[in-house]
C-alpha cells in the first residue's frame, strides 16, 4: 500500500471502531474493546510505518508526503482537504500513536474487564464494587467460603471505548490534516469527546459541572480561533499550511486592528484557541476539574494528548507568529504575548500544584505548568525545544497519569477490601509506603516523576527542559529564563512531594496497607511508556553539551529544525543554563524528599505549618474559581435570570406580546360593539326580520281558496289587458 492512502486510513480505523461499537456491538464488552483496540492498533501500525518512511525521506520539510482532494468549490477557488506528513507531523504522529494505543490497552483492566457486575452499580456512576463468595480467599477465616468485595466492571464499558475511539480519530485527523479547517474539525470533535469523557460519570454533580466548565472554557478559546481561521482564509484564500505562508505580502499588510499586521492578528486569535485547549492562564481552570473523568484515562487524554493539540497548533502557526522576525531581533507582538502567558502560566500553576492533595490534580497542574514551558518556548522562538518538550512531556505525563491511575486503582482495591469507604483513594495523604505493595507502579511512576522534575542526564524531561532554558538564556530573555528556572525548581519539589507521600515511608491508612499491584495488562503500558520517558531524551542532546554532546548526534534538533530553517536560534556556549537546570532539579527533589519524608497519619502538610497563609492561597488556587464565579458565572446567571428572563423575556417580549394582545382586544371590542353588532349583525337581523315580517304579512294573503286566487287573476288580467288595450288603441 502506498503511503498516501495509508495516511488517509490512519484516522479511519478508530472512526470505524467508534461507529461499529455505537451502532452494533455496544452490548458486548468483549467485542467492543476488541474493536477499539484493533482500530487503535492498526492506526499505530500505519503511523509507525509512516514515521519510519518520514524519517528516511530526505528534505521532508520542503517536500512533505501529502495527498489532497477538492472538497468545496467556492466560486473561483476550490477548497481542498488533504493529509500531509512533514517532520512535525511525523513526531506528533509518533507520540500520539504510542500514547493512544497505551491508553486503549490500559483502559481494559482499568475498567475492570471480566469482573462481576456490581449490585449497586448504575450507569453514569463509578462502579461501587461487587460482593462475591470466593472460595480461595477464606483461608484465614477457615470457613472455606467468605463474602468478599471485589471491584466491579464499569456499567458503561462499551460506551467508554466508543468515545475514546472517536477521540483517537479526532486526534489523528488533527495531526494529519494539511489545512487549518480540518484541523479545526478535529479540534472540535476532541472538544466534544472531552466533554463526554469528563462527564462520563454523569451521575455525579461535580462531573456534570466539570464537563460544562471544560466545554464552555475551551469554546471560549475556540470562538477566537475560528475568527482567526476565517481571517486567514479571507486574507490568503487558502487553508493549506504550505499555501498560507506563500502569501507573505498579504499577511504582512496592516489589519487596522491594534496596529497589528494580519499575520500578527491571526496569530493572536489562533493563540487564544491554544490558550483554551492547552489550558493556559486565564483559561486554565477547566483542566484540574477535568480530573472528574474516569481516573486516569480521561485525565490522561485531557492532560497528555488533547492539550498537546494546542501546542501542535502553536507550532503550526509558528511561521505566522514570527513573521518578519529573526533570531536576535526584538520579538513580534504574538511572540511576546506567548512568552508572557506561557511563563506566567508555568510559574502560576506550579505554585498551585504545591498545595494539592489529590494525586491527579497535582499532575493536572503540572501539566498546565509544562504546557506553559512550551508556550513560553514558542514565545522566545525556540521552535525545536518546544516540539521536543511536547514529545517528551506527552510520554512522561502519560506515564505519570497512567501510574497514578494504577495507584488509585490499587488503593481502591484496598478500600473495597477493608470496607473503609470514607477513605479518599485519590488523596496522597491516605497513601504512603506503596513502594513495596506496588513495585512496578512505583518504579514507573518514579521514572515519570524524575523525568518531569528534569533529573539530570538520564531522563528525557531533563534534555527537553534544558533545551528550553538554554534557548531562553541564549536568546537574552533573562526574565523568561529566571521564571522558568524557578518553576523547574517548584516542579521538582512537588514531584518529589508526590512520590514521597505516595510511595515512601509507612502506609497511613489500612486501605493503603491492603493496596495491591495491578494486573500485567495494566502495567504493560506503564513499562512501555517508561522506556520512552527515559530514552527519548537521548535523541535530542544538544551538540554543544559538555562531554555527551559529541557522542550522540542531535537527531531531533536536525530533523525538526528543517521545519524552521532560516530562523534557527544561535547555539549558546554559556554553562549557566546547564548549571541552573542541575541545581533546580536536584535541589527541588532533595528538598521535596526532605520536607515530606516523615509525614505521619493525621499530620497537616509541612508547608501548611510553615507558611499557612500562602498555603491557604495556593490550596484555594488563588481563588480564581471563586473570582470567575463572582465575575462571570454569577453575573451570567444574574443576567440570564434577571435581565434575559425577567426583563427581556418576561418584561419586554412577553410585555410587548401582552400589549399587542390587549390592544388587539380593545380594537376588537370597539369593532364588535361599534361595527359588527350594529352594522353587520343589524343588517343580517334586519334582512331576516324583514323577510319574516313580510312573510307574516303576505301569508295572510295566502288564504288557500283557489277560486279567490282565480278572481284575482282574472281581475289582474282584465286590468292589465285593459291598460294594454287602452295604450294600443287609444293612445295616439
Amino acid at each position: 500500500m502506498n503511503i498516501e492512502s495509508l495516511m488517509w486510513l490512519i484516522p479511519a480505523f478508530p472512526l470505524a471502531a467508534f461507529f461499529l461499537i455505537i451502532l452494533f456491538t455496544n452490548r458486548s464488552n468483549f467485542i467492543s474493546h476488541t474493536l477499539a483496540l484493533l482500530g487503535a492498533g492498526l492506526s499505530w501500525l500505519a503511523s509507525m510505518y509512516i514515521f519510519i518512511q518520514a524519517v528516511r525521506a530526505g528534505d521532508l520539510a520542503k517536500l512533505p508526503f501529502g495527498s489532497s482532494l477538492a472538497w468545496l468549490p467556492t466560486g473561483s477557488t476550490t477548497l481542498k482537504i488533504g493529509v500531509q506528513v512533514d517532520p512535525l507531523t511525523a513526531i506528533t504522529l509518533f507520540f500520539v500513536a504510542w500514547t493512544v494505543l497505551m491508553i486503549f490497552i490500559y483502559s481494559v483492566p482499568y475498567h475492570n474487564y471480566g469482573a462481576p457486575k456490581g449490585e449497586e452499580d448504575r450507569p453514569g456512576l463509578p462502579p461501587q464494587g461487587a460482593t462475591v463468595r470466593e472460595r480461595t480467599h477464606g483461608k484465614k477465616s477457615g470457613a472455606g467460603r467468605s463474602l468478599h468485595v471485589v471491584p466491579s466492571v464499569e456499567p458503561l464499558y462499551a460506551r467508554f471505548f466508543a468515545l475514546i475511539s472517536l477521540f483517537a480519530f479526532a486526534m489523528f485527523t488533527l495531526v494529519l490534516s494539511d489545512n487549518l479547517l480540518i484541523l479545526y474539525v478535529g479540534w472540535e470533535i476532541m472538544g466534544f469527546c472531552s466533554y463526554m469523557l469528563i462527564g462520563f460519570w454523569y451521575g455525579k454533580p461535580s462531573a456534570r459541572d466539570a464537563m460544562v466548565k471544560a466545554f464552555m472554557t475551551t469554546r471560549l478559546g475556540d470562538v477566537f480561533m475560528l475568527l482567526g481561521v476565517v481571517a486567514l482564509y479571507s486574507v490568503t484564500g487558502s487553508m493549506n499550511y504550505s499555501a498560507i505562508f506563500q502569501h507573505t505580502q498579504a499577511l504582512a499588510a496592516s489589519s487596522g486592528i491594534l496596529g497589528l499586521s494580519w499575520a500578527g492578528l491571526i496569530a493572536i486569535l489562533l493563540f487564544i484557541g491554544v490558550i483554551g485547549k492547552s489550558a493556559q492562564f486565564p483559561l486554565h481552570v477547566w483542566l484540574p476539574d477535568a480530573m472528574e473523568g474516569p481516573t486516569p484515562v480521561s485525565a490522561m487524554i485531557h492532560a497528555a494528548t488533547m492539550v498537546s493539540a494546542g501546542i501542535y497548533l502553536g507550532l503550526r502557526f509558528f511561521p505566522l507568529a514570527t513573521m518578519g522576525w529573526a533570531p536576535g531581533q526584538a520579538q513580534t507582538i504574538p511572540m511576546t504575548t506567548m512568552a508572557i502567558i506561557g511563563t506566567f502560566t508555568a510559574l502560576f500553576s506550579a505554585t498551585m500544584a504545591l498545595a494539592q492533595n489529590d494525586i491527579k490534580r497535582v499532575l493536572a497542574y503540572s501539566t498546565i505548568s509544562q504546557l506553559g514551558f512550551m508556550v513560553a518556548a514558542l514565545g522566545v522562538g525556540a521552535y525545536v525545544a518546544a516540539a521536543f518538550h511536547l514529545v517528551t512531556h506527552a510520554f512522561f505525563k502519560a506515564l505519570l497519569f497512567l501510574s497514578s491511575g494504577s495507584v488509585i486503582h490499587g488503593v481502591e482495591h484496598g478500600v473495597l477490601h477493608t470496607g473503609d469507604h470514607d477513605v479518599d483513594a485519590q488523596n496522597m495523604f491516605n497513601m504512603g509506603g506503596l513502594r513495596t505493595k506496588m513495585p512496578v507502579t512505583f518504579w514507573t511512576f518514579l521514572i515519570g516523576g524524575l523525568s518531569l522534575a528534569g533529573f539530570p542526564l538520564i531522563t528525557s524531561g531533563f534534555w527537553s527542559k534544558d533545551n528550553i532554558l538554554a534557548d531562553a538564556f541564549n536568546g537574552g530573555h533573562y526574565v523568561v529564563f529566571g521564571v522558568l528556572a524557578v518553576t523547574a525548581f517548584l516542579t521538582a519539589f512537588y514531584t518529589m512531594r508526590q512520590i514521597t507521600l505516595t510511595f515512601l515511608g509507612e502506609a497511613r491508612t489500612r486501605s493503603a496497607e491492603h493496596a495491591s499491584e495491578n494486573s500485567w495488562v495494566m502495567l504493560f503500558p506503564l513499562v512501555v511508556l517508561a522506556v520512552f520517558a527515559v530514552s527519548l531524551g537521548w535523541v535530542g542532546i544538544p551538540a554543544d553539551f559538555p562531554v555527551l554532546g559529541g557522542l550522540v548526534p542531535n537527531w531531533f534538533g536536525t530533523y525538526v529544525g528543517t521545519m524552521v530553517s532560516g530562523v534557527e536560534l544561535p547555539a549558546g556556549h554559556s554553562p549557566t543554563p546547564l548549571l541552573t537546570s542541575l541545581v533546580v532539579s536536584l535541589g527541588g527533589l532533595y528538598l521535596g524528599w526532605r520536607v515530606y519524608r516523615d509525614v505521619r497519619v493525621g499530620q497537616p502538610d509541612p508547608v501548611q505549618k510553615a507558611i499557612p497563609s500562602v498555603y491557604k492561597l495556593l490550596k484555594n488556587k488563588y481563588y480564581i474559581d471563586e473570582f470567575y464565579n463572582l465575575a462571570f458565572v454569577r453575573p451570567a446567571k444574574w443576567f440570564a435570570e434577571t435581565v434575559s428572563y425577567k426583563w427581556i423575556d418576561r418584561g419586554l417580549i412577553d410585555g410587548f406580546l401582552h400589549f399587542i394582545a390587549r390592544g388587539a382586544w380593545v380594537v376588537g371590542t370597539v369593532l364588535r360593539v361599534g361595527f359588527d353588532v350594529p352594522v353587520v349583525n343589524g343588517t343580517g337581523d334586519a334582512v331576516s326580520a324583514g323577510t319574516r315580517g313580510l312573510g307574516g304579512i303576505m301569508r295572510r294573503w295566502q288564504i288557500g281558496r283557489i277560486q279567490q286566487y282565480m278572481i284575482l287573476t282574472i281581475l289582474a288580467v282584465v286590468v292589465v289587458g285593459g291598460i294594454y288595450y287602452a295604450f294600443v288603441f287609444f293612445v295616439p
Binding site: R699, Q702, G704, R705, I706, Q707, M710, I711, I714
Partner: protein, 107 residues
C-alpha cells in the same frame, strides 16, 4: 245565415257561465264542469271563425282548425279524467268534495 257575432256572443255567454261556475261554486265537481264549459266556449269560437273565414278556401288546409278543436277536446277529456280522479282520491281521504276544505297546504 246567422251572423258570426251571434256565435261569438253565444260563446262569450257560455264562457262566462263556465267562469261563474268555476268562481262561485264550492263543489269541486261543479268547478270541473265549469272548466269544461269554458273549454267548449273556446271550441265554439274556433269553429265559428273557421266556418266564416276559412271553410272552402283552397289556399288554406280546410281541416286545420278542426284538428285544433279535436286537440282541445282531447285536452278537456284528459283534464276531466285526471281532475275527477283527483277529486275522488281527495274525497276518499277527506270525505269531502268542497274546494275550501282542501286546505292542507295552508300554513
Amino acid at each position: 245565415m246567422i251572423p258570426l257575432a251571434w256565435y261569438l256572443v253565444f260563446s262569450i255567454a257560455l264562457f262566462c257561465i263556465g267562469l261563474f261556475g268555476v268562481l262561485s261554486r264550492k263543489n269541486a265537481v261543479v268547478i270541473l264542469m265549469g272548466i269544461e264549459l269554458m273549454l267548449n266556449a273556446v271550441n265554439i269560437n274556433l269553429i265559428a271563425f273557421w266556418r266564416y273565414f276559412f271553410a272552402g278556401s283552397s289556399q288554406q288546409e280546410p281541416t286545420r282548425a278542426l284538428a285544433f278543436v279535436a286537440i282541445v277536446f282531447v285536452a278537456a277529456a284528459a283534464e276531466a279524467a285526471v281532475g275527477l280522479a283527483l277529486i275522488i282520491s281527495a274525497y276518499r281521504r277527506r270525505e269531502t268534495v268542497v274546494a275550501e276544505d282542501m286546505n292542507l297546504l295552508k300554513g
